[in-house]
Amino acid sequence: MRASDRSAIAVTISVMLACLTVTPLTQDPGFVGLSWVLITAIGATSLGLRRIRLTNGVVLSAQVAILLFYSLALSLTLVSPTSDLGTPWFEHYASLWGAGIEHMRTQASPMEPDDGVKLIFVTVIGMIMILTDLLVSGVGRPAWAIAPPATLFLVPALGLSTDTGVISFCFIAIGYLAILIAEGLNTTARWTRGLSRDSAEGFGTAMPVVWRAAGYLAVPAIVGTIVLGFALPTLSLPGLGFGTGPGGNGPLQLTDPTLDLRRNLLQPEDRDVIQYQTTAPDGVYLRLASLPQLNANGWSNVQIQLESGQSLPAIPGLSSEPGERQTTTIQVLDFSSQYLPLPYAPRTYEAEGDWRFDANSLTVVNAGRRAQDLRRLTYSVESVNIEPDSSELNDAVAGTPADAAVTAVIPPDLPDSLVQLANRITADADTPAAKAAAIQAHLRSNQFTYSTEPLPGSGYEALQNFLLRDRQGYCEQFASAMAMMARVIGIPSRVSVGFLPGERDEEGWKVSIRDMHAWPELYFANHGWVRFEPTPASVTGTAPSWTVQNEDSAESDPSADPSSEPTADELSPGTAPSVAPNEQPNVPGQGVNARGGRTLVGAGIALVLLAILAAPATLRVRRRSGRLNGEGPAEEQVEAAWAEIRDTVLDYGGSWPEGSPRAIGDEMAHRLDEEESESMSRVATLVERSRYARSFDHGGSMNELPAMTSEIRRGVAAPADVRRRVMALLFPRSLFRRTPREP
């Protein structure tokens, strides 16, 4: 094999492995296959063009052209949320990038599947492939080839708060090792040129290279692993979610309440983050934020108007304060957020720092809108509990809040299946409250299971997965599902994020990290935003009294029929356009992906096993092609061909005759057919000449040497049965031949 071929193949393998390291970043590993196609194309370009000795510039241009073409072609098969079929391709391409970047910015790893992200990943991996190839084959600096794939490794290493795992590192290491071995073999090929030691080649030279390369890698790898092992978990980047991994000392961080509730629920160690004393007998839900907007990406925040002041405005939907104020004193133990955890509905609060409030949601936000370390912050709040009487609520109609433009909008692309489900569940209920109760009852029924391992997906797909498919989820799924369905049937809704009341002890209430919670709030006229609790009782206990339909409250008020609902006309399926293109099919596949990690490990082990199995065959094939490539001095070629014939005979279980080339040639000729034996004699004569004659005059038969060798190989293989052939391929005996030493 040529040196350039070897390098190109090593680079291809290396980047293929490296791109596996970013799979933890997304829930959709579909980009891997696409990347591999691109990597292979770029690698093949390098191999082919360098073979015909084109310059780096040409190779690089061709590679970049392939990358661009592939990336564009890929973009045409993908769907962007902000463009449709009529959009020009370049705008479509740009919109995909924009959407992908936005998706990455707003989602925590593992990200939900997104076409833009896929395009970005594939394109970036293509760039890294080109860079690596340039480093190795172009400028001949294979030692630096660790750098581009390592950037791929560093992204999840830094971006994920959990351990990225040794497997990822292994991918990079194996790839780098491949490049180093290829380089080592290339170098060795240069060293041994001119030495024609028939028995020293192959293992003789390959093994030291392999060991040397392993040495190059092993020491830095071990040191690097240890250092990174200590350093990585404490790293967290702002804006990438709840950032502390196990062993970290930083506070629990919350910048965007939508981000990864689940991660907090999955925290390996449960620790208290907040403690409070309150006059409310049953504790309070501490709300951080409310997410009023529902669209294809799920529930999210909107721009809010912040006002300063310590007294909050009137409670939306309520003309007067119901009941009495509760006073709650809150100490933050270990928490960082831009939102101040407050019970709903807060009336006044006293907290150090510059806090602002939003009049619609009554959330209190840090003025800088940045996550703040709230540790040791103690503040007090007066609030009223919105705990409507069950029967009163039942008479209430769904209201129209001030922000109805957001909280009452049914997205036009909401899948029909969800709309139908919501209508079906609430078909028997007459009043909005009854409908809401029906939805909650549906979600709290034993059809649904609380699980922090829901099917992956985002936006509508997540809702569909949760409601229609596996019916497994945690508070976020329950809350968003209920809020969505409530909205469908005409009740303005939002999803709030915060904490459950926690546990009570003698000092007060303690809220732990696993009390992180999400719940829906529904808007009723004269009651305002009312908290519902669709999450199963195992987590939240019994549902609030007003959210359960009593027998006696079943009689409904006809006037409660929300015929005057601003959103009533949007209930008809006809106005909700079909969103089929945006629906991601293939749910079973997604289910497999959920266990992607384990599958990946399994695949990795299988790959390693395969590699080990294939190693002898690969080595043998490599050695053969190295021998028959027609390069080098004629004497070496002849010796190589001779050694190849010998190894073939050994591979097929034959014995290699003792003696001089002539004697061996005669002996072998007896074993072969007429034509092959003639070739054998000719090769033997060539070997004899090259070894013993004054000058090697091959009489022009060098050109035929590979053909003759192949013919002899065929002749040797001809009588072998299938088993023997397979053995010859997989376990070539010649590899394990003892190198004969001279006496």
């Binding site: 024609s196 004497e635 010796e639 001089s660 070894r691 013993y692 004659a693 004054r694 006496p743």
Partner: protein, 333 residues
């Protein structure tokens, strides 16, 4: 193709010219063909005789009576148009019969040198072990030095010069077997062996009615042979093959079955013989096969088996063959 006598004579008269390996193959092919018309089915013996001729060595033909030892020697002599003498060794043969003697010439009143039997291109020494050691020494000294000194005058022997001595191993009475040191001077020993039944049948056909030896015409001449000898000297011996030769000779010295190994002279002669052997195959380089093929013929008569080997009834030929096999054939330049 057989050259006639005249043609051969013509070659002989042509000025000294450079001969190629092609000539070696062709001329030796002719000689072999001619000799084989007399000696049936002894291709290897004939070839070995020619190898020794080209390598400027001497040949010892050793076997039981009647297998054609003398016939081989005579056929070789007859095939080449050069001076051939035959000396029948007897116990009363004197050294001067070999080397020659200075006789007083009455007319010139001076001593005149009468050359002995050794003064020829090819000397056939029949039953060499019948002569006294003294006479044997005279022959062997001339063989080695290719010159004869009589009465203070040194006479060079003309090239080509080859002694083909025959020896009968089983007739012990009244013989003086060549001591091993003397045998060392022969480049190679041929053991003729009995002919195969077919060859023997052919022999009956050809020899039954006529004498093929008489019908044998020379196919080449001395000066051609001289040129061929020079050509053979150009045959290349790679360092690997030289190494192989040395190792082979060393193997005889280190063998537990041999009391006496081969001498450095044997090494040299093995090299020369290998060159001639390669040249006769038309090759300008020596292969290990050439060396191995000649090993037994060149080495076996020079060594002495150990008592153990003798008790184990192992012949020297076997021991040498084994020693040759034990040497690793060089697989690089």
């Amino acid at each position: 193709m057989s050259l006639g006598y005249e043609k051969a004579a013509e070659i002989g008269h042509s000025p000294e010219r450079a001969y190629s390996l092609g000539d070696v193959v062709q001329v030796m092919g002719n000689v072999r063909h001619a000799m084989e018309s007399v000696i049936e089915g002894k291709r290897s013996s004939v070839d070995l005789a020619l190898v020794v001729l080209l390598a400027e060595g001497h040949l010892l033909v050793e076997d039981v009576p009647g297998v054609g030892k003398t016939m081989l020697a005579k056929a070789l002599g007859r095939s080449i148009a050069c001076s051939v003498r035959r000396v029948q060794f007897t116990p009363d043969l004197l050294p001067s019969d070999i080397t020659g003697v200075s006789v007083f010439n009455q007319e010139t009143r001076d001593f005149e040198f009468k050359p002995g039997g050794i003064f020829a291109n090819i000397v056939v020494g029949d039953e060499i072990n019948r002569a006294s050691p003294k006479t044997q020494s005279a022959l062997l000294e001339s063989m080695e030095e290719r010159q004869v000194s009589v009465d203070g005058t040194t006479y060079r022997l003309e090239s080509p010069f080859m002694v083909v001595a025959t020896q009968n191993p089983i007739e012990m009475e009244g013989t003086y077997p060549l001591p091993e040191a003397q045998r060392d001077r022969f480049m190679a020993r041929i053991q003729m062996g009995y002919p195969t039944p077919n060859s023997e049948l052919d022999m009956l056909e050809s020899h039954g009615s006529s004498d093929p030896l008489a019908a044998l015409h020379p196919v080449t001449d001395g000066s051609t042979i001289r040129g061929l000898i020079e050509a053979v000297k150009n045959v290349y011996v790679s360092p690997a093959v030289k190494h192989y030769i040395v190792q082979m000779v060393n193997a005889t010295r280190n063998s537990r079955d041999l009391r006496l190994g081969a001498s450095p002279r044997a090494t040299l002669q093995l090299l020369r013989a290998s060159r001639a052997f390669a040249a006769m195959s038309g090759r300008d380089y020596v292969t290990p096969d050439d060396v191995a093929a000649l090993g037994v013929s060149v080495l076996a008569h020079r060594v002495l088996p150990s008592t153990d080997a003798q008790l184990a009834r192992r012949t020297v030929t076997d021991v040498i063959a084994q020693a040759i096999q034990s040497v690793h054939i060089p697989d690089r330049r």
